[in-house]
Symmetry: C3
């Protein structure tokens, strides 16, 4: 009887696992597309969907040709382009690419409803080529950040992917300015509800499904010593599940306390915030820590959303900062306080290392993102014209109407003639 | 060359499989959410979605702290809380949890459109803590039910999960009473169509995808003796596929025979009924038996639905009893009659064991569920006010409108009429 | 310590992989359902969804009883019915079935909006029983096609599945004739927009997710010699990803060049065309070849779509020929020109073998499909009546309305005007 070499078994299992979880993480683009489409006006849905499709398409191509090489360059291994690798090296590249594209697509939710398509694509190009690769080069690849012997810890990208994406989104939304009509002259706020909670919740659940790949998939199956890594897999699965659940409950509870009603979108986004919160630390957190991290990530959601909306007056359309940014920072910083016994030697050193990591990533992200969008703005390419914004970006940027038969009475006049001027516009004409 | 220990290979493969199928079964919540959302009125969609999100969130937390321990306690192993386990024990817990949450979420489809959110959450809490754990404690954990040497057989939860959920839903819907306007004073029936067949069919296909995890995933990959369990995996994959297909055809055929038209929703729900029908017995059923089980599960769907609607006059909104309840009972009872040769020693003993199992689970489920909803009703907390039911639960319970741009107020009339003023806002009033 | 036999490890890993990817490929039915539903009028959505559900249900049953046996018969191994196999043979059968059903379901998008349900089901029956099995019998099973020592190459069905399906769809749509109002008397074209870009893009992303199973899953994990097949897995994952991305960019670019706008549906369908393009050759194509194949598949999409619409005047509703047909042919023929070094001995021989394969499959598909639809047409069973087409197939064929609360009657007029009275019911008439 021929026996199986350990190396074959370990390679086969680990790489099959990486493929499966890469597919799951790719699937999160369906989740982001639905979540964001549901949260925008019906006149901007096709624009949001197109941005999602092109984020992946442009981003993954750029990451193949340039981004992966920049990451290894910054990490100290020289410019190793994905084009020059082969075989399992391409599996590793795909695995890196799906994380990179998650960071990229988060931004599109913040700048919805007014960013020019070419501006967004330009930014995505630079994010995939440089901004995100520098972050992973400094952290996962180079492991440069530590304090007193404690290394900066981010297991699956709570800060590196989600925190970075959320902060980038907030920065871009700030530079762009709010949508027309979002704020009154006296500074008071107008709510612009998304067009479909059903799509938003669908997106939430697609994302949660993919997230199991994101977190649990970051653990190998068989370790370098040939042992089955069941302890780590089990802990990550448990903390991911509990933090997600507590995020939904925390946000729903806050909404109920403040308004007497359980807002559906807060529950959904709270579930996601709980997932973001645990993503940096699912492999070290105790079970009660998962309750704490998820619960706090959910509770902070309505508070941070209100702060961004009312104090900062930034129009973060899909709430990407409270969901991905502040929740990612929160979980990353909580690392030493919620860890299972024996994980952390010095709580202080570990905490300082986390603070340094968060600060470095946030500073770089704000600077790079702010500079790019400011430059686009300076040349008049950041934002569509007021007329196009009124009309909706679907018509002006894409020449399509997402729902030609609904929501606009006589918009379909001949099976043959889509008449675009009838697209319902806020602030605009039709039957206003 | 280092060789792979069999134990490492078996553990790694079996636990990786459990993780993958647990993710698939979790994904069924996206399916239930879409299936149910599509089958309710647009004024109640956000309520249905919120219940789905909270079923998972509340339920999985309760099952972690209490439910899993109750199951092991009833099963005779003492109260083993999930909090006190570790490593792969948490993988096993997650695997149990996704089955438990499937049972829980089925109920929400039956009580749609009139149950108070707090009543539903209370019931979900108790289902996850006690009702479902007692069922699994008696069956999978304790294996107490047998007759003449034949043990009660339920491979993946055709009765334990789906039958239980469907019966619980029917019971809760009976206690709650029908939606306003569902029955006329003379006892005749009004149909209240769901708001989107597209979402309903999407949910059906998401569920079918997850169901492969539910059924095939219940088989281990490598057995205790170190052999590959390909025979069992293959049979389960085959019977699951054929029963699903025959369920859709059976229900579509019945609809066509009775009305001359192939009702889309019957085909979709028939596909699910076929899956439910085979879930108890996919590992033992012959290929022709899969045709029988799936076909009968589909055929009974329109008949049982009509019986519940017209004779019992129970308003089971999403048809959870014909899909999960009666189909689950049917498949469980058919076990000895459709089994592959050599599986069943005594058809009579096996059948009696199945009858006992079905009766025990049904009786416990009806009693526990009926008592809880009756108690909630007695204190006036089971059902929203008639005004809120008219208005829709989205506004009254959640303060949101699912589709603020579509379905303008006056186009929805019969069972309540959504009035949009309270929510509509992009800075203007409803009419601007 | 007991060691793992290589055979057990290889069987367990390879069959687990086949199961996972079969589930993923099955999931593509959700993608096709959404993609097609989004591209048809709201009055025909339920019809499209029902066809998708029944394609799978009828097709897989027929493929179990007949189709798989025909494939092995044509392939030279005698009629080996799936009913007579067992164990892992059923896993292999399911794996074959999900490919077969992909080919079948493509056709439904081409004949949308006017084919009779019974005609479509009849055709699906024959496709699953004979047409597709003959194609796989000649190619994958029998490997009859070669030239000068070079065998016809189609790794995962770029021609065998997608090309065949796209050509079948075009043929059926030609025989059926265009939808009413699609062409004016002077031959000019009317655009009939689909009812929801959101569902169309959702379907696109669900398909892309499943496609990773389709392509990467076609590679085994551990080869016959016991080695891990990481090189092949990595290359397939890389080329699939890049071709998909370049397909979306290519189609979007062409739309932008021609109209100044980035049409959302072209980007989505371009992404799919890129995937189709690479599906025959993901295991041999170089990284730059993936750019070429994907880019060309995307670029040809708007051109071929226009040619079919304006020159051939065939009403291919969901653009299945440019997406699956011409893109599949393109990728199959490009095989020797984009291959990695060392793969192809003689470019000429390889190219001729590919041309022969494409010609044989196309000729057989056109003949068989044309004959069946012509026969159905001859007996007056191919197409619904003009009245039913005006009214919409949802009402006439299925007795349902997909969105009873939206898009009320008078907002849709040109190609028939859905009149809701006949269906609208929650107990009352439309206006109560």
């Amino acid at each position: 009887m021929v026996l199986a070499p350990l190396q074959v078994t370990a390679d086969a299992l680990n790489y099959t696992w990486i493929l499966v979880v890469s597919f799951l993480i790719f699937f999160m683009h369906a989740g982001f597309a639905m979540l964001e489409a549901g949260q925008v006006r019906s006149k901007n849905v096709a624009n949001q969907l197109t941005k999602n499709l092109l984020t992946w398409s442009v981003g993954v191509t750029v990451f193949f040709l340039v981004g992966a090489g920049i990451s290894s360059l910054v990490g100290g291994s020289g410019f190793a382009s994905a084009a020059s690798t082969s075989g399992t090296g391409w599996i590793d590249w795909l695995y890196g690419a799906v994380f990179a594209m998650t960071a990229a697509t988060i931004v599109s939710g913040a700048v919805a409803g007014r960013a020019k398509l070419r501006a967004y694509i330009t930014y995505t190009f630079l994010l995939a080529a440089v901004i995100y690769p520098v972050v992973t080069g400094v952290t996962w690849a180079g492991a440069y950040i530590s304090f007193g012997g404690a290394a900066f810890t981010d297991f699956a990208g709570g800060m590196i992917v989600h925190g970075m994406g959320g902060i980038a989104g907030l920065t871009a939304a700030y530079v762009l300015g709010p949508r027309m009509g979002r704020y009154n002259e006296d500074g008071s706020v107008n709510v612009i509800p998304g067009h479909s909670l059903t799509f938003a919740v669908l997106g939430t659940l697609l994302l949660a499904f993919g997230w199991y790949g994101f977190n649990v998939g970051t653990s190998a199956i068989i370790g370098g010593d040939g042992a089955f890594l069941g302890d780590q897999l089990g802990r990550v699965a448990m903390t991911t599940t509990l933090a997600m659940a507590c995020g939904a409950m925390g946000a729903g509870l806050m909404a109920w306390v403040r308004t007497g009603k359980v807002d559906t979108l807060y529950v959904a986004n709270g579930l996601l915030a709980g997932l973001v919160g645990i993503t940096a630390i699912p492999h070290t957190t105790s079970w009660w820590g998962a309750f704490v991290v998820g619960g706090l990530a959910g509770i902070q959601l309505p508070l941070v959303f209100g702060f961004v909306e009312k104090r900062l007056k930034i129009d973060d359309v899909c709430a990407v900062f409270p969901v991905h940014g502040s929740a990612g920072v929160l979980g990353t910083l909580l690392y030493p306080f919620v860890a299972a016994p024996g994980v952390v030697d010095s709580v202080l050193n570990a905490f300082v290392a986390q603070v340094i990591g968060v600060a470095v990533i946030a500073a770089w992200t704000i600077l790079a993102t702010g500079a790019i969008w400011a430059a686009l703005k300076a040349v008049g390419q950041a934002r569509v014209t007021p007329e196009h914004e009124q009309e909706g970006l679907d018509v002006s940027e894409h020449g399509v109407e997402t729902y030609p038969e609904f929501g606009s009475g006589d918009s379909v006049v001949a099976d043959g003639g889509m008449v675009s001027e009838s697209v319902r516009a806020d602030g605009g004409s039709k039957d206003d």
